[in-house]
Amino acid sequence: MTDHTHSSDPTQRPGLPARLLGIAAFLLLVFVLVPLFIRITGRWDFYYTLTSVALLSVAAAGVWLTFYIGRINIGQGAYALTGGYVSAILIMKYGVSFWLTLPLAGLFCAVVSVGIGLPILRLRGVYFAMVTLVLTEVARLTALALPITNGAKGITSIPLPGELSIFGLTIIPDFATLQNPKLAFYLMAALLMVLTYLVLWRIVNSRLGHLCRSLQQNEELSASIGVNTAMLRVLAYAISSFFGGLAGAIFVAISQSIYPSSFVVNDSVNFMLYCFLGGLGYVFGPMLGTLLLYFGWDLLSVAKEYQLLIYSGTMIALMLVLPNGVLSLLDRKGGRK
């Protein structure tokens, strides 16, 4: 447990120039190389898969943040669903522009999560994990029961995101008029992902992140030295849920429909698994975890009936070899026994 700080402490990472270079390379990869690769190979279906990866990793980033304060969050699906419904209802019932519903969906989730988080964040370990798991099911059943969500019939035929303009200047064109909305969705999701991880990285490297780490290690101790632990936990949880809501809202825009079963317990569990697989001690862990698990499943579809067998077998093997996540490969030299 003691060597823990070691790997999760980002200040131990390479110096500033190297880091900037890394970021530049990453941006180049996401915004230039990937579209180029798809253009050359003609694998247009990768756009949707990668869009999904980007969006799911946004939600997973939230889960990672709750891990960061020492809470196992298996309830992110609830917020993704809520965010999706907020966006869908605002668009369909009130004619609000998609672009406005996006932050609203996130904010709504953040507000809801404060109400839910205040009581349940007092729980720890598996208790918190289980309550959040129940939360996902509660969200699904609520969506089924409420009149505004249109219950079991879901909300369908939602229009594509419209034009976003300020003072008559078009910033984002109407998706319906685009030749390739897939590319537009990809760019939007990738941009959101980059921003999310930038925020996450900023948080981890700030005073807030430092406090979160202290919370993860010993809550009583941090409380005794004057950290407002309750406030800190709720804040982290609200940010986490904000991410969940954003991801949910964009998914709804892509599928142009939402049902109570659009995000279920399995999704919540998957978000958690993405974090584990990537590595809990690394900011970019959930991103890599999502890529490996989600993309991996798609690629494995060639294995037909053995798909799940190979997928789960690989997952177990990875866990055996790298129990601290794939990114722990990076610090093999230090910290290990």
Partner: protein
């Protein structure tokens, strides 16, 4: 009213038995076994294969389920959980492993036993009917009694046998137990095997009544989690209490809230969340750090 209570008790008995295995594994190793439900399903299919396809008596099927699952549990502990627990920095990492095992078992079950719902013929026919006030088929009564007998047997075993005592010591304080000369590895393995065996036995018992299909694994795990949360994670008596309480809640809730239909389970789940928020350690548990 009698009927509602009887339904609750029957449900409770089977739930408690499922929760026992899960809580045993949790108390010994701090592992939340996501694959518990899949083990239950596997046990059910083993009994089905032995009874319905090989035509052997039901009791043989049950024994086969117990043995197969115990061996599976022991192997999973020794070759999967033990190395991962030893090397991972955070205890929770085992959750990914457990989930991986759950998926893996799902895949194996699908390949071995197929996608269809399976069941074996009733072991006893007839329905106990007390003046239409209380109706309970005999096979249900029998299974409920078998479940209670297993629970009692389990408690006695944990209380009085050497192995049971060693496991309790281990659950209370791993380090202290080790210092006192308890072979931690050995008893972790036995404990995991027993937990898996219990899951397999419930699967075998219930295949005569509810049947079995590969989809029941995940939801069963989640339900078992709920039960041990209600009672208090890692506490044997808590798991039993949790099982019976959830059984009663469902039985009473379904009747009382029948008129409101769609929200029955919503109410049950929200009640649970509120209860846990008020009493984070469950009924009998100790708060976990």
């Amino acid at each position: 009213m009698e009927q509602i209570l009887a339904n609750g008790l029957y449900l409770g008995a089977q739930y408690a038995l499922i929760a026992l295995g899960l809580t045993l594994i949790f108390s010994l190793m701090n592992v939340l076994n996501f694959a518990h439900g899949q083990m239950y399903v596997f046990g059910g299919f083993v009994t089905y294969t032995v009874v319905a396809q090989l035509g052997l008596p039901f009791i043989v099927g049950l024994l086969a389920s117990a043995v197969v699952l115990a061996v599976m549990g022991a192997l999973i502990e020794k070759f999967l959980f033990r190395p991962v627990i030893r090397r991972s920095k955070r205890d929770e990492s085992t959750m990914l492993l457990a989930a991986g095992i759950a998926f893996f078992l799902d895949a194996v079950i699908l390949l071995l036993f197929g996608e269809k719902q399976r069941g074996v013929p009733k072991i006893v026919n007839g329905v106990f009917n007390w003046d239409m006030r209380l109706i309970m088929p005999y096979d249900r009564i029998l299974i409920a009694m078998a479940a209670v007998a297993l629970i009692v047997g389990f408690i006695l075993f944990m209380q009085y046998s050497r192995t049971g005592r060693a496991m309790r010591a281990l659950a209370q304080d791993r380090v202290a137990a080790q210092l006192m000369g308890v072979d931690v590895d050995r008893y972790s393995m036995i404990g995991f095997a027993m937990g898996a065996m219990l899951a397999g036995l419930v699967g075998g018992l219930l295949v005569t009544i509810t049947g079995i299909n590969l989809g029941m694994g995940g939801p069963t795990s989640v339900k078992a989690f709920l039960m041990i949360m209600i009672g208090g994670a890692g506490v044997i008596s808590g798991a039993i209490a949790g099982g019976f309480i959830l059984g009663m809640m469902e039985s009473v809730g379904l009747t009382v809230l029948a008129a409101y239909g769609d929200i029955t389970y919503l109410v049950i789940f929200v009640t649970l969340m509120i209860f846990l928020a008020i009493r984070p350690q469950g009924l009998m548990g100790k708060p976990w750090g």
